[in-house]
């Protein structure tokens, strides 16, 4: 029998203050990033146009920018894919996206007549549609949160429920902060990934608090923090294994899944790591602090 962790006895609760400090710092930075710098909203939400172009021969970002300037789109976002310098994604945001693709095609055939190119992907979204999608997405997120809150409130004891919800917001804000920091595009697919992370975070919280509740009923004589630690340690190998296998799948997506899915896989990767960390340090940490301030366990 192979075991990665044989009866671990890590005192997570004693280390909770490091977790709190770390998370508090990260929350401040993330919120600052989100509200000051702002997410890099994709054309799904802002409206705009996107072209993915593959050239026969390598071409520099500067040359591409030069052509874009000629059609008055010098401020377009240019993203190079891969190391060969042959494949690019060009994005412009805002009004009247319909004319962008034809103008770019014309200027490219004038500027690079000998460099054959293929347009792998062309997307155009009117700002009006983007706004509708944004409000629809906000509704979807709100409804998802409400349903999860309802589920959590009848499924958990209110302490675990509150802590799980705090952990959930922690994970979402943390992940969004990383996305803003790395300037990844916030597209509709990435929002889908954020919601998946929320589901996963709750999932982890459930497994851990189920076990803590079970231990609580069996270990009536032990201190509350000992119960918490036992629950965390007993589920630790499961946590490590599940996160491990899920991350293996996500890394396979990130490495082999191609450009279309890369942002999605990246978001999941970051979110799952944060979700695992938070269900141990934040969820259990909050519950232990709560118990110390307002004990409910009978001595």
């Amino acid at each position: 029998m192979i075991e990665i962790l044989r009866n671990p006895t890590i005192d997570f609760i004693a280390k909770r203050k490091y977790g709190f400090i770390f998370s508090a710092v990260v929350m401040v930075i993330s919120l600052a990033l989100i509200f000051v710098r702002g997410p890099n909203f994709g054309i799904d939400f802002t409206g705009g146009a996107l072209l993915q172009i593959k050239f026969d021969q390598a071409i520099t970002t500067g040359a591409l920018r030069n052509s874009l300037s000629k059609i008055g789109r010098g401020s377009a976002q240019i993203q190079s894919l891969g190391v060969a310098k042959t494949e690019y994604i060009v994005r412009v945001a805002g009004e009247n996206p319909e004319g962008f693709a034809p103008a770019l095609k014309t200027v490219l055939s004038e500027d690079f007549p000998d460099n054959a190119r293929e347009f792998l992907r062309e997307e155009t979204v009117e700002p009006k549609i983007g706004k509708e999608l944004l409000s629809k997405t906000i509704w979807a997120v709100i409804i998802a949160l409400v349903l999860i809150l309802i589920y959590v409130s009848f499924r958990f004891d209110y302490r675990f429920g509150t802590a799980a919800v705090i952990a959930l917001f922690h994970d979402a804000i943390f992940t969004l902060g990383v996305l803003v920091l790395t300037q990844r595009e916030l597209s509709i697919v990435v929002v889908g990934a954020l919601l998946t992370i929320i589901g996963y975070s709750i999932n982890d919280s459930i497994v851990i608090s189920d076990r803590i509740r079970e231990k609580y009923n069996k270990m009536r004589r032990e201190a509350y923090n000992v119960v918490l630690n036992t629950g965390l340690n007993e589920t630790l190998s499961r946590t490590v294994l599940t996160v491990g296998t899920t991350l293996l799948a996500v890394i396979a997506l990130l490495v082999f899944g191609g450009t279309v899915i890369a942002d999605f896989a990246f978001t999941l990767l970051i979110g799952f790591l944060i979700g695992t960390y938070s269900s141990i340090f934040i969820l259990a940490g909050i519950v232990s602090v709560w118990e110390e301030k307002f004990p409910k366990k009978k001595k």
Binding site: E118, E122, T242, G244, V250, F256, G257, I261
Partner: protein
Amino acid sequence: MRHIGLRIGIVIVAVLLGIYAIIPTIRLYTEANLPEATKIALAKRAIHLGLDLRGGMHLVLEVDTAGIEEKPDDLRDRAFEIIRNRVDEFGVYEPVIERQSGGRMLVQLPGVDRERAIELIKKVAHLEFRVAADDRMAEVVEKIDQYLQGGDTLAFDQPFSSYIMTVERDPGFDYRDEDSIVAMLSRAREVIPEDIEFVFGPREQSEGREVKRLYLLKTAAELTGEAIRDARHGPNQSGNLQYAGSWEIDLEFKREAARRFASITGKNVNKRLAIVLDNVVQSAPVVTERIPQGRASITGRFTAEQARDLAIVLKAGALPAPLKIVEERTVGPSLGRDSIESGIRAVLIAGAVVALFMLIYYSLSGFVADLALLLNLFFLLAVLSAFRGSLTMPGIAGIALTIGMAVDANVLIFERIREELRIGKTTRTAIDQGFARAWITIFDSNVTTIIIGVILFIFGSGSIKGFALTLTIGLLSNLFTAVFTGKVIFNYFTYKFDVHKLRI
């Protein structure tokens, strides 16, 4: 060992149903040279590839109702019917044309030439037959020159007539001067009689220059596109060397219109009759005699493809109002192919790595987990087939994610069984208790992710629905494969081989 026979039976029946559901998909995507009819029949019971995987275009169109008196709803209905006819005639495999909320329409065309399809859909195709007023050309041009010379019109430094040159016996102008010409005509509006107007030809090459022809036509149309009963494309037969090797569109008029056409041509012998499409003169042949057969043809420098598409739009009729593309997502065929390849590779690698890990970590029991995982993927695809679900790139990501998360159930169960064994329970008791205790947790933890999946499916747009679909189906089938089937396999083998020491 309760009901082991019954439980094995349930698993076998489920697998058989799955095989039945998945066969059309396997046949559709693996058998080459299927007859068209079989293909269509199979497609109705098979997994559908999303546009992001097969390549194609997704368009959301809006009818621009501004400035048109007709009720917007009626306009949209007519536009919808016309677009549907055009797309049907275009002949792509499995097109989607749907009305959406807010009066929009959705058009999805797999694997088409983007520019061509947009031209076909957006073309208003307003066709008119108008008599030319060539005899009044000189007089009107002179009037414009005089008008623009006098008074406050010094903005134009050259007279109108100086822009006009000859393009193969027709008047015309350098296309770079178009803006000046349009400005002059608009300024001199009041000296141009109301019953006639200038209309341009298409941009063309003539003696090394880019030019447009200039026509003076009667304002009133003699006949419009509504007169057309049928339109076909064919090789040019006009005998006009200029169009040799090009294609033409042959029109057949409705009966009443045919009579009118005969009378129009009879009255205008030796005059030119211009065929104007969306305010551009396609051709203006001289009427040599009365044409009683009710046929006409549009000649020009059309390729076979252009002539075919034009015939389609003319037959389907003109759009009552222009269309605006409010959303477009087009994926070229090579990116679609790349996405399928990289998607499948990612799923296979994720599956192989996870399966190998389980086998190493849990030894023989890991094999049961792998079997459950394989069954899960199988049921996922079978359910998608049965409901004709569509598989998108995010959908493939959902499958990969399902592989990672499905193992969670097995990990929960196996860790429990290990614990039970550690405290000295017998193999059989440990298995039973391990499954029983893990079940509540597994059920709970899947529920939240399924909630998210359902919401994404309802509110999500386009390709994200594919993710929600595969993730939700995957997690649901996981409850059956990992928990129910997993336990059946354990029970069966420990019973059959009388296992006393479980390798887990």
